[in-house]
């Protein structure tokens, strides 16, 4: 204990990193929970339903107007959902491969959290950079970690030792590998423009007003990245690994209780991570080209400025989350051959073309 305190006091960097990790998780986990609620509420509204509106807390529920309002909103539903996940029977079928069966949910969740490490979610707060690890090869790290996510799903499909999860796992591996290529292709032009792989530099590049946002400079790359992100997160219209009409529950058919909840959290964490990536790469990160909020504050900048940047970042992420959710209730599922066709025959050539065109334009610009 003493040794730990020593390290913390003597090595300020470590202490601050730990604090930031805790803070990021403290924001990320409720975000996961509430994006589930947002999903349920939005789908309800799109389908002329009510959505969760029953869970009330004993004391807060008694506050006039606010209490019933929060209840109708389903504000406490995530608590109930979480509690339910813990209380349900954790059933392990007899035929599963136990070690992998237990490992898979963790493997599905961890990469999603790890992606958050390199994302700059704010400018400065005091003298502290609002990024967990300001890597020079941030995007490479991201791709490396994201490709690990498939192991959780494949392992779940294999460990369950029954046919539908197995099919789900196979579909998933093929799908993730295909779309990772398209995704990788799509971001190459971005870095050609920026000239750096560090994500903070990408944001700095985009801080020259709305026109400098890469979504406008590289719309094709943005579209490819976004679609690939849907596929990578197994969201509709690309949720073939768990397509319930064909595969019961896909790779998580045999899972219940908290283990199932981990898969569930993994999916939403992935959504948040993808959204954060898109915000960083294409939508100007924590900058906003109004009220002077796009200026990179120096190390002694005002605290409110730092907080505002974090707020801006989170707001942009939430907007993208809404897009994720909305698309789910808007589009039907792709057929598997259509999915593969879209990935391999449309997006990869398109991404390659995008690289070539960008390169040519850059070459011509440099010549002038």
């Amino acid at each position: 204990m003493q040794a730990l305190l020593d390290i913390l006091t003597n090595h300020r960097e470590v202490a601050m990193s730990l604090a930031k990790i805790v803070a990021v998780l403290a924001v990320l986990l409720p975000m996961v929970a509430y994006s589930v609620l947002a999903e349920r509420k939005l789908s309800a509204l799109i389908q002329n339903r009510v959505g969760p509106n029953r869970v009330a807390l004993p004391l807060i529920g008694g506050i006039p107007i606010l209490g019933p309002f929060l209840t109708r909103l389903g504000f406490w539903q995530p608590l109930a959902d979480g509690l339910k996940s813990f209380l349900k029977e954790d059933f392990t079928p007899a035929h599963v491969r136990k070690a992998y069966f237990w490992l898979a949910p963790a493997l599905a969740l961890v990469p999603a959290f790890m992606t958050m490490a390199v994302i700059p979610f704010g400018s400065f707060l005091g003298r502290e950079r609002m990024v967990l690890a300001d890597l020079n090869v941030g995007i490479l790290y991201t791709f490396g970690i994201v490709s690990l996510g498939v192991y959780g799903i494949v392992l779940a499909g294999y460990a369950a030792n029954s046919k539908y999860p197995f099919l789900g796992g196979i579909r998933s591996s093929a799908q993730l590998i295909s779309y990772e290529i398209a995704m990788g292709m799509s971001v190459v032009p971005v870095f050609m423009l920026v000239g750096d792989l560090n994500l903070s530099k990408v944001i700095a590049y985009q801080s020259d007003g709305l026109t400098s946002w890469l979504v406008f400079k590289q719309p094709v790359a943005f579209v490819i990245f976004m679609v690939a992100a849907f596929a990578e997160t197994n969201r509709l219209p690309f949720d073939l690994p768990e397509s319930e009409t064909e595969l019961v529950g896909g790779y998580h058919t045999e899972y219940s209780s908290m283990k199932f909840a981990l898969f569930f959290m993994g999916e939403y964490s992935n959504m948040i991570a993808s959204s954060a990536m898109m915000v960083t790469l294409f939508l100007g990160g924590w900058t906003l080209p109004f009220f002077g909020l796009n200026a990179t504050p120096n190390e002694d900048g005002a605290i409110w400025m730092g907080l505002a940047h974090i707020g801006i970042f989170l707001a942009k992420v939430m907007c993208l989350l809404v897009v994720f959710i909305w698309v789910r209730w808007m589009l039907p599922r792709f057929r598997y051959d259509q999915l593969m066709d879209l990935g391999w025959r449309r997006f990869i050539p398109l991404g390659l073309a995008n690289i070539v065109v960008t390169a040519v334009i850059l070459f011509l610009q440099a010549k002038q």
């Binding site: 939005l42 309800a44 509204l45 799109i46 002329n48 339903r49």
Partner: protein
């Protein structure tokens, strides 16, 4: 049968019209639900559904206007019941003078509401109009035993059926008005 797929235009193959119409439809519903009261959900325990005429809910026994159990224990419903939910104990050979000219009424009549599938065969087959599928649709109990409704319970839930024909009463009146030639 092979359905010929319509040829998609270039634009359609880009998915953009689909995306646009999907967005339009979902947005319209979203707006309707949020601002124009387009909700279709019925919030069950508080809001109750008006049971339509001819709805097939739980089957109950009825009495006639004179408080007579209409069932005569013919056991046709027991016979016709597809899930074997009905169990009738016939009265046995002892002559029961309280039954009058009907002669017969069930000693016990049980419907296992857990087995009942609300098909209405019992009502359809009943020659005495003694059993009706009523409007109860929400049957709950704390034990399996509780869900086996006995004669008392079925009769009290079924209430009175105002039968206009009154077959047995009519027979009784007819017989009383005739000169009976007793063999002795």
């Amino acid at each position: 049968m092979i359905i010929k797929r319509t040829e998609l235009s270039w634009l359609e193959r880009m998915y953009f019209p689909t995306l646009w119409s999907g967005l339009r439809v979902t947005a319209r519903h979203f707006y309707d639900t949020l601002f124009r009261g387009g909700r279709v959900t019925m919030e069950y325990p508080e809001q109750r559904w008006t049971v339509p005429e001819g709805y097939r809910g739980a089957p109950y026994l009825v009495k006639d206007a004179e408080d007579r159990t209409k069932c005569v224990s013919c056991q046709l419903c027991e016979f016709v019941c597809p899930p074997k939910a009905i169990k009738i104990t016939p009265p046995g050979p002892a002559v029961d003078p309280t039954t009058g000219n009907v002669e017969k009424r069930p000693r016990e009549f049980e419907i296992n509401m857990l087995r009942c599938i609300f098909c209405g065969f019992c009502q359809e087959v009943c020659p005495e109009e003694a059993i009706f599928l009523m409007k109860d649709y929400s049957l709950t109990g704390l034990s399996r035993k509780e869900m086996i409704y006995d004669k008392e319970k079925l009769l009290s839930l079924g209430g009175v059926h105002n039968d206009q024909i009154r077959k047995w009463k009519k027979k009784e009146a007819e017989a009383a008005s005739q000169e009976a030639f007793k063999p002795e």
